[in-house]
Symmetry: D2
Subunit: 206 residues, 4 copies
Amino acid sequence: MSQRHVLVTGFEPFGIDLVNPSQELAKAVEGRRIGDLVVRSLVLPVQHEAARARVLPALEEPGLEAILHLGLAGGRARIALEQVAVNVMDYPIPDARGDVLRGRPCRAGGLPAHLCTLPLPEILAALTAEGVPAYISYTAGTYLCNYTLYTTLDELAARAFPVRAGFVHLPFLPAMVAAHGLDEPSMDVNVMLRALEIALRVVAEA
Amino acid sequence: MSQRHVLVTGFEPFGIDLVNPSQELAKAVEGRRIGDLVVRSLVLPVQHEAARARVLPALEEPGLEAILHLGLAGGRARIALEQVAVNVMDYPIPDARGDVLRGRPCRAGGLPAHLCTLPLPEILAALTAEGVPAYISYTAGTYLCNYTLYTTLDELAARAFPVRAGFVHLPFLPAMVAAHGLDEPSMDVNVMLRALEIALRVVAEA
Amino acid sequence: MSQRHVLVTGFEPFGIDLVNPSQELAKAVEGRRIGDLVVRSLVLPVQHEAARARVLPALEEPGLEAILHLGLAGGRARIALEQVAVNVMDYPIPDARGDVLRGRPCRAGGLPAHLCTLPLPEILAALTAEGVPAYISYTAGTYLCNYTLYTTLDELAARAFPVRAGFVHLPFLPAMVAAHGLDEPSMDVNVMLRALEIALRVVAEA
Amino acid sequence: MSQRHVLVTGFEPFGIDLVNPSQELAKAVEGRRIGDLVVRSLVLPVQHEAARARVLPALEEPGLEAILHLGLAGGRARIALEQVAVNVMDYPIPDARGDVLRGRPCRAGGLPAHLCTLPLPEILAALTAEGVPAYISYTAGTYLCNYTLYTTLDELAARAFPVRAGFVHLPFLPAMVAAHGLDEPSMDVNVMLRALEIALRVVAEA
């Protein structure tokens, strides 16, 4: 019998950074039991077609109950629970393959947007109650993070079974801010990990 | 024989907050040995005359080698190493005694400002090397934090022996941001504590 | 014969403010000729059903060629060209009628979002060329501004004729920032008016 | 008989910018009468020794009643009335001569800081009353702007006659933000000019 599981994804490091907190977190929870669910984790490459090719088979796995994508959003001060994935790719900064995309849809002919299907208000309430700074965000940007959420929700929307999916954006790690001399907010990886555990618990109980 | 020591001070919680990271940190390092020095800690009330009355006797203690004042600076994203204490008190928000002070000097007839005497570039370099976000700040505000640094440097400047002193401003704790629903940066208390340990090590070695 | 026209809307002042730059701008361009088009302007009340009742008849007017909604987005530093209207109403702060809405759709059963149909990249290029700070935004918030854009695009999407519509968010006026003692960006009404004229010119030529 | 005058200085454009609002403003008010005073203006080069060489002779001019230095502080949202000039030069970015200075005093052996001698609370009140966003700032940075204010106050402090002097920092111009694609606040030159006129009127009446 197939194991009931929640999929947690992160991204590989990008640009000059040697770490990516989303990858660290995804690996950190791999194999954990959350209520009745087991966590499976997946690290995605920083290129949209390659990321899609890695995500789609995981959506076919029997026993999949929920999906939580993680990604870095440098400059944000709090954990961002993304409510919306928009059918737009627009990134002036080249991705890991060197591509620059301007004003392209994630899927030609797709809906203008998909709404996240995780219980974000409940996750937000649980995070706030445990002292983790978080908010519900209405833009996941127009880069790979938004693309990944759009693609997952778009795939799932066409199916009969109700797998819930969402995306959580993470602030910089303190060491990233220190290394780059930025005047930007950061969040300790332990606070992020607590946030992930809380979110997964709410998802598992929902 | 009097014990060679470094004095670390924090402030009591203020307003609606039940905790103050500066108090937590000051208590956390009390009694520790850093190189040849022992840490003594002191918690100050949130009123300038009362704080002064608590600090001045500690400056007379035999064996005092250095002073590190800690305080909260909500809204800052990084550990702030304060370079300047200015001879101004200006706070529109009432302090713990209900006083509002506008455009008053810290000490009438005092120098316009004092410069911090701790090795801030060395502390900054050590923090950055260990991945803690920090910077050298040129304004400690015009509230109690600035007053405390001014008062300490002003007292010490009149003396013959060279006790070094400085002030470190701390970001909000994550739980403060969560509780108040603020879109502001925060820093985990463990990152702050690491910062304090690093700063004390540099001070002890200098 | 019906006159070919572009509709520009603004909102009434809200809360403690006695002015709203969106209202000022809408009135300032009323009756102007932009290429072949005449500008008609409309001021909307700060309550979603009342605003909707004011907008819908204007969408029926013969000769309507394009719609540009204007609204205030305090805290933004630049003119924001809104790309997305999401099917969500979520405002914790009571509107002009005292209503608080949490997590409600703009239209039950409506699409998750609509994309703005004005040529935003061309408008952005024209604004930038003339020295007006602007950007394409992917969230119009979850308040009345987003609701108005969603409602207009939703109505128009059901029709055969292609009326283009969009929303432009404006920063605070300098006097609003001064009056409220905020540390927030602002923009002079003359810069905003220039931005509106440039945007209308691009719309008229498109 | 020597003409009673107020000196207004600005800086030349720096780096990739072709304009500097401080220069524009200084030129715009040249020769104006404000109460009993005439405005003389001076544009300073972006190198500290050259700027000093240009300022010092102007301080010797008979009839000098007050000095208002102007400079750009990109990133600030409001007109900043500088209260403090600190005896520190620290700029990692090369100046117009290519120099990088770290942790140097403006004047070796000089006071740690000087306080501005213009009536800043009165200027702030007048600006606020006329709807211009402004605040009193307690750090003028550690670059040429701070150096210029320190040097002027330091020179004047040694003299018997009471010439008042201060520094006003200006936000980016809108065209600078647009040209560089920055997400930063800006202020229209007409708002800045109004601010300067208001400040000069208060200075002339004081």
